[in-house]
Symmetry: C2
Subunit: 338 residues, 2 copies
């Protein structure tokens, strides 16, 4: 019997404490990874707090894992022990539904989140996942900061792949935080004209350094209206209610407002704001294994890395407090110190 | 000075009366059409009532025109006197913006609606329009019933063209009226599996005759949930608030809810219902001249005609009352009798 050590919360908002959990024999299709680094994502907080209602306790959070393969099951394909890999939001999927067999495993209705359904996440010494969700890391990508690409990065990168965004397009990014700063970097590297929306004057220079050509420093209606008819893609990374009807006016004809922030309050959308200009609103959940691999290759080639702060994993509670206080610039990575 | 005779309302909800209006010399790029038939669209009512706030009175409604060209300006292209043509929601556009030069004239921000901005519509003996918006009718299409294709028809047809709907897709049509019954016919001819949603038990057999393979006879939440994970495209032709959040659950992964009914109340959309399954909500305004021509050719080839009731144009007020009473089955055509 293998034991996994991990930092777990036993109830909503409880401090994390180190626990040991027994692990079964490794499944034939599964991979065991020795965790080296793990990013903290806002959805780790949502799951710790049971904001979405499907947390099972004790929960070991962490789904932006970088590590090295230490064991593989007999049916694992394309991976070997010793390889450096990443694991993101999902750790399994049914492999036989229409979505899985067309390479869209992240849309599988049976997809197993890394930190739900009794699966243990990456704030641990080891993690396991189905081989399809274990993505080899390009050699020229800095492993110590790559973790946040596995969830935050793919979440903002996938829309560029999925919706045929072109380098000639104009892209707006709402919210310059863990997701948004990566959205700026990817949009810039994609060749687009990039506009950042932030409420923080302090982030203007950083937004430009991340790749924004223009910065709008408010979400109020007048400020939004300055950007009327500007964007082919508006990437919404915030999770608070905004003036959605007015934001739709910043789209060009055929423009798309794509929501990746988990805004809990329903968005009141006037049909007319979609009809005039043939506009769309959409959302997406992280990305497929193939999209993650494509993103990692693109990030390595364009030298795109999350801007991170490091904490030893044993200081996970301090790191979470830093995130909750809104102080993270822009993503936190825990370094395993078991 | 040419005089045009038309049925006009002089204030919101006033009865229509026959008036004469002076027309300037025909513009170089304009076409004059002798009206033979004109459909009544729900948006004629909305404009008569100034529901959208941009009606100018007196208004001569009518934007589903079938007639014959009786005069052309010196710069008109591709049309000649004597040709049978149709004119729909738009009668002009700037011709030089990005949308016009890419063949998406219906998305031109300067597009001139046939019944707004001082332009007179088709409840008249004559109508004028820019040549690009005057669409030749295929010879094997029945002219007396074709009018409603020019607005109602293209409105439900354009999404099939624009969003890459395939014959393998499953399509739901919400609301079986003037728009919806054409949506069923086009979806069926497109090769799709077709499901109709209606609140009227009386329309079940007719919906099947129009091409529905399945009929759901309620918009309540339980009935909608029977169709969970069913549709690639859900075409919303109603203009009343529905349980939008639940309707999104009837979409398959990558599914699209496309709104062509002018629902006035903002739709409360939970972001999570878009994020899980990578779903979209969109809208569109009628269609481009090229799309209208493509639709007419497709309708002629597949023998698709609106199901219409005829009224002499001089009985326009009786015809409007019939529509307001919800008795139209399924579209009304006025036959010119000046």
């Amino acid at each position: 019997m293998i034991q996994i050590q991990g930092w777990a919360a036993k109830s909503p908002k409880a401090a994390l404490e180190l626990i040991s959990v027994d692990a079964d024999d490794l499944g034939a299709e599964d991979v065991e990874v020795l965790v080296e680094h793990c990013g903290i994502c806002h959805s780790d907080l949502s799951m710790l707090n049971n904001d979405w209602g499907f947390t099972s306790y004790p929960i070991i959070p962490g789904h932006e894992v970088i590590g090295t393969i230490i064991a593989i099951g007999s049916a694992v394909k394309g991976l070997k022990v010793g390889q450096r890999v990443g694991v993101g939001w999902n750790s399994g999927s049914c492999m036989h539904c229409q979505e899985c067999v067309t390479g869209q495993h992240n849309l599988c209705s049976q997809a197993l989140p890394t930190i739900a359904g009794g699966h243990h996440g990456g704030f641990a010494n080891k993690i396991r996942a189905h081989w399809v969700w274990v993505i080899p890391l390009p050699e020229n990508l800095d492993a110590s900061s790559a973790g946040p690409l596995l969830c935050g990065g793919i979440t903002v990168f996938a829309p560029f792949l999925n919706f045929d965004i072109k380098p000639t397009h104009h892209v707006g990014v709402l919210g310059i935080g863990g997701l948004g700063h990566l959205g700026l970097k990817f949009a810039n590297a994609w060749g687009c004209e990039v506009t950042a929306f932030t409420t923080s004057e302090l982030k203007v220079d950083e937004a430009k350094r991340f790749g924004a050509h223009n910065v709008i420093t408010s979400y109020d209606t007048d400020s939004i209206l300055k950007a009327v008819n500007s964007f082919d893609l508006l990437l919404v990374t915030v999770n608070v209610p905004l003036d959605w009807a007015t934001l739709l006016k910043t789209l060009k004809p055929n423009g798309r407002m794509h929501v990746v922030g988990a805004v809990l309050e329903p968005m009141p959308i006037p049909a007319m704001n979609l009809i005039f200009g043939q506009k769309s609103i959409s959302g997406s959940p992280t990305g497929s294994p193939a999209a993650i691999a494509t993103m990692l290759e693109f990030a390595a080639r364009h030298n795109i890395a999350p801007q991170v702060e490091h904490f030893p994993m044993s200081q996970v509670n301090e790191a979470l407090a830093h995130l909750i206080d809104g102080k993270a610039r822009y993503r936190i990575v825990l370094d395993a110190d078991f």
